[in-house]
Symmetry: C2
Subunit: 697 residues, 2 copies
């Protein structure tokens, strides 16, 4: 029973200690905060610890005292025995706090695997090893050695780093932020983020899910679970190791194989996860979600007693993609009624430096009533006349009853502190800068869209899977790993249109092929060793007669031999020349954590430098495919600009879905690229012109 | 004597008051903090205020008591008289705190102009109107109505918003940050940012210059002064109204005409100004500069007691463009000597969660000694064993003696507070997040480059200025404002190569022109009404015979009449067809604050969507021209990639300098664009293919 993990009647501490400064003592003391809890210290050298009856090991605990949860703090080498004894004693839930496992090298990794086997054998739910423990403020369980208190609240937090748990709890203690559940994930040997996402989903005391991750254990499952959970509760995650430099640090830290950041970005987006760029941002967002209703749109009003702050905040809104709301006439009139004549009645509303709480209250009330306003940011600077506490009281009152989100930036230090205290007392976040308030407002707006979008159901298409199966099996049996033009048939099996083309091994064959399909044609070199054909003179365009073919064939062979004397040349391919289309690229790479990562971008050299491509983890839904296409910056070029004809975007979307299915059906395909896919004007489809893929060995 | 503004022997307060809550009282009280200062209240209704002898007006003050500085707080309509009286009484320096001037409408603007005339007449230095006043902590002058104390320090701050002065002082009071001079600029009617940059430059107590601006008064001068000042002291500025939304707020706030953000970015860059994106960032940077030596490179070491924090910080370094330093072998060995075996001896150094101050001290000492390390970020999380204060003491000690910058992120809340207090006591900044510490470290690194780069001396070139003068004069007299292909001669005058081209008004003329210059040729429509020739069928390429010319001429005329029936067509232009080059664009727009803003980018439709262009304010130096070219993302395309020939980049730079000179010489040119400039392979120059410019009326 996993529920017993969070709300046990009795808890054993294996490795309990009476020594100050020992983890085994800190855990006991934290557990003892709950006077209703039965606590069973386990230590072979004591009969009693902190006035609790102590047992030599967990199997010695009499049946009627059976623990619902065991916390293990003994040295790593003794942990497998302890886990085994828990199994024998019928304990379902354990938390292994001890370090010295996978993160510590080969021997540690072996010990960890041993624990996993034992958990499998007995059906034990295990958190850790190498963690700080867990806290459930609703049940009153503090099964951790954290030195900080945790307040009750509606934020559930999980963290792969114990230190970040500590930092967060310490920050929360100062700001008064509360948590429903607080989980230190440790090495995630058994239970991991996917389990906790589902626990948080079903936990009535949790309204907001936050987390710090260095990797995910099961990427594809993660996307599915997050997609579901994010419809009912916001998921806000920091993922570290974003960069190659950072990734190296991750490996040395917890041995997690960090996925590429593009894959994480795609997976988080597909899963409806709000990705925070820093710990601070995660905490900022979480606080906003913990108190605010969701905004119905992106039109923001600003109320300030300082023009300069108003401008900076408007700048921040614009940068974040939020709009500055235009007020109804009535709003302006009502503001004018009470605010002094020199005030600004338009957005940002400037109540002026000497404004008291009454003016803030009036402005807030009026602006909240405006149907064009979806959210409000309140700025307060400590002018000489400003009664910061009174303003904070009035603002807090409004926030509590509001159906629109209101976030505050009380800006300053000494004289602002009293206002911050008032806000904290009411559980209302104060952001130390307008930019942070704006970023959190933006997160609220973004989540509104996530919550209300239709479920993503991966498209399932008919395809000649059997043909592809055979093709791959034969290639594998012949040990052919790298495939190009000659393997375009695999596209046909998935109903992807391919250019009419023939393979020729000699010049006469080439001429015959061209005449069979009709001029003009394109000639391309066929070689497993050549990936950039243009660079070695391996492409000739616009060939119109047999003479052209002859000239092109001879000069191509000579060029290619010149540039790549060692390349194996298997012949040439002749393709029907296609003009009037635009080139795009559809590709796939296997990400170690999420699997098939699809890529889309426009063809051409620019794209390479500007990295203007989009990603998604396959299998994708139709709306995800649409989003991939429309989210590249060069989208206007295919959507049609300056009188140019729009391209057949529907055919690109269809092709993306077919590729998504192909690479999902065949995990043997390691890398895959259609380059170019020639997209014709609207209604005229698209054609794959070249292909390159690699099979695993 | 401007020095008397900051260190006066006697100060008059015009509008002094004894009433609590009045600005005239707050100013008096603040002045009285300095017991050595002679203070003269001016108020016709009192003989004595706060035990100071009061005069009815400043001309009534006896000569031996003449004020070095007068602070004016009377209502706006009375200010011009007060300024006039100051002039008559021989007061050189005044601060007008009163509001109700330009920011308040037409009548206020009139009053402000009146004050400016009077200051001109008497040679008075005036700060304000509509400001909070000034503080000089070195001389002990507090000539403001600020409610906060200001501590002594080495940061000079100026702000165009009084409220932001207040917020900053309030923040500084809480964090213990000190200032040398603190200036509320107000409406900048007389003295403005350029004056204060020079005052700060020459002020021995100032090491760092910070500011909040909504605009600059004299853009070209600003760049020159900032270039000089930034060589000796860092200038850190927030400029608000970055965005169109924000800009609107600026206009309604202080009536400043906000320049385009691209111009500010370019001008700040050229002036060596570090642009902060927010008030918080400006304060963060200022604190770093106030205590840190400059790093000699961008290789950063991280010392942490928490792996997770180390990874997040490494991520932040990478994102900011900083490198994670690789340690010398000796460093790793020395770390290994004292740190526990499970610690990480590579960068980021993990001293582990139970590390005491001695381990931090050892790690800092060893890492500081490594010649590959240019700067260090110290992370401390409050683990159960962590003695935060002791670590703060040791770190503060190291920071004070260090020749390399060390920045701290003590992360957390309640239990971290004691460490923050220790750092504040030592005047050492603690950043509340690793990202903020990293951003500040990056600012230090960037300033190191600014400080050490060669002075930018705008290139001066020989040109046939007289030809251009005549050309423009004639065009103006004929009221021809918009110029295109037909005006390419102006480029020749500035020695910019232009394509061989002829103008033809009839088909026979066109054929003759083509035969004169030789085939192949390009034909372009000539019309003052058509800017995008391609869109209306106004360009035909690759014409090889008289037949081609005839066909092209007739179809072009019919196309253009079809698309733009009302366009005035003045004929066609025939140009020698140029192939083998790459198209780039050089343009210029007049920015309201900085004047001629040059633009560079590659040609083609992509650039339009990707906004991959660079800007600089003319006149530019050669290195600035180089930077313009190399800073676009598509630079590799002209620098030569994948075996493609590099383009003649020197000729682009030369053309940029020529255009810079042309648009500097002739302010009558409002907009200017060479599009395309065809750039040939390296060594083969470039050719202007088309041009478009507009003259003022």
């Amino acid at each position: 029973m996993l529920e017993n993990m969070f709300d046990p009647d009795s808890v054993a501490v294996i490795g309990a200690s009476r020594k100050e400064g020992k983890v085994g003592r800190a855990v006991l003391e934290n557990l003892m905060q709950n006077s209703d809890l039965k606590i069973i210290p386990i230590n072979p050298n004591s009969d009693e610890i902190l006035r609790l009856r102590c047992y030599p090991n967990i199997t010695a605990v009499p049946g009627e005292n059976k623990a619902d949860l065991a916390i293990i703090v003994v040295p790593a080498r003794m942990v497998p025995d302890a886990v085994n004894e828990c199994g024998m004693a019928g304990v379902d839930n354990i938390i292994v706090i001890s370090a010295g496992f996978k993160e510590a090298g080969v021997e540690g990794a072996r010990l960890e695997r041993e624990c996993i086997s034992l958990c499998d054998k007995y059906g034990i739910n295990m958190i850790g090893p190498n963690c700080l423990g867990i806290i459930d403020t609703a049940s009153g369980l503090n099964a951790s050695f954290a030195a900080n208190r945790a307040f009750e609240g509606n934020i559930a937090m999980m963290s792969q780093s114990g230190a970040i748990c500590t930092v967060t709890l310490d920050w929360a203690e100062r700001t008064g932020v509360g948590f429903s559940k607080f989980i230190s994930l440790g090495n995630k040997a058994v239970l991991a983020e996917n389990d906790f996402l589902q626990i948080f989903e079903n936990d009535d005391t949790t309204a907001v899910i936050a987390g710090y991750l260095e990797g995910v254990k099961n990427g594809p499952e993660f996307i599915k679970i997050a997609q579901r959970v994010s419809r009912s509760k916001p998921i806000i995650l920091v993922k570290s190791g974003r960069t190659s430099v950072g990734s190296r640090a991750v490996s040395s830290h917890t041995g997690t194989l960090a996925g590429s950041d593009a894959a994480y970005n795609a997976a988080f987006k597909q899963g409806g996860v709000l990705r925070a760029d820093s710990l601070e941002e995660m905490l900022d967002y979480s606080r906003a979600f913990s108190v605010c209703p969701l905004p119905e749109g992106r039109n923001i009003a600003i109320i300030t007693n300082a023009g300069g702050l108003g401008i900076l905040t408007a700048d921040a809104c614009y940068n974040a993609g939020l709009s500055i709301a235009s007020f109804e006439e009535n709003t302006v009139e009502r503001l004018r009624e009470k605010l002094p004549p020199a005030a600004n009645f338009y957005n940002p509303v400037d109540v002026l430096g000497d404004a008291g709480a009454d003016l803030y209250e009036h402005a807030l009330k009026v602006v909240l009533d405006d149907i064009n306003v979806n959210g409000i940011i309140v700025l307060v600077s400590p002018q000489s006349m400003t009664d910061v506490s009174e303003i904070a009281e009035k603002v807090a009152e409004k926030i509590k009853g509001s159906k629109k989100p209101i976030l505050c930036n009380f800006a300053g230090g000494s004289r602002i502190a009293a206002g911050e205290d008032v806000l904290n007392k009411h559980g209302i976040p104060n952001y130390s800068s307008a930019e942070r308030a704006v970023a959190s407002m933006n997160a609220l707006c973004n989540y509104h869209s996530i919550k209300h979008k239709n479920p993503e159901i991966p498209a399932v298409l008919n395809a000649d899977k059997e043909f592809a199966r055979n093709f791959i099996d034969i290639a594998s049996s012949e040990n052919r790993r790298t495939h190009g033009l000659e393997s375009m048939d695999i596209l046909k099996a998935y109903d992807i249109p391919v250019v009419d083309s023939r393979i020729a091994n000699t010049l006469p064959e080439a001429i015959k092929a061209a005449e069979d399909m009709g001029y003009p044609v394109v000639m391309k070199i066929l070689s497993p060793d050549i990936s950039h054909k243009t660079d070695v003179g391996g492409i000739r365009l616009d060939l119109e007669h047999a003479d052209d073919i002859e000239r092109a064939y001879n000069s191509m062979m000579s060029d290619v031999r010149h540039y790549m004397p060692d390349a194996e040349i298997t012949g040439v391919q002749l393709q029907k020349m296609i003009s009037g289309g635009k080139e795009v690229i559809i590709g796939m790479d296997r990400d170690p954590q999420f699997g098939p990562l699809l890529m889309f971008g426009l063809g051409g050299t620019y794209v390479e430098f500007l990295k203007d491509v989009s990603f998604a983890v396959a299998p994708i839904s139709e709306s995800e495919a649409k989003h991939m296409v429309s989210s590249v910056k060069t989208y206007p070029l295919i959507a049609g600009v300056r009188g140019e004809e729009p391209s057949d975007i529907d055919s690109i979307i269809a092709t993306l879905l077919k590729v998504s299915q192909l690479v999902t059906d065949f995990p043997e395909i390691l890398e895959f690229e259609i380059n170019p896919l020639m997209v014709m004007p609207e209604g005229q489809g698209c054609v794959a012109m070249d292909i390159r893929f690699t099979l695993n060995s």
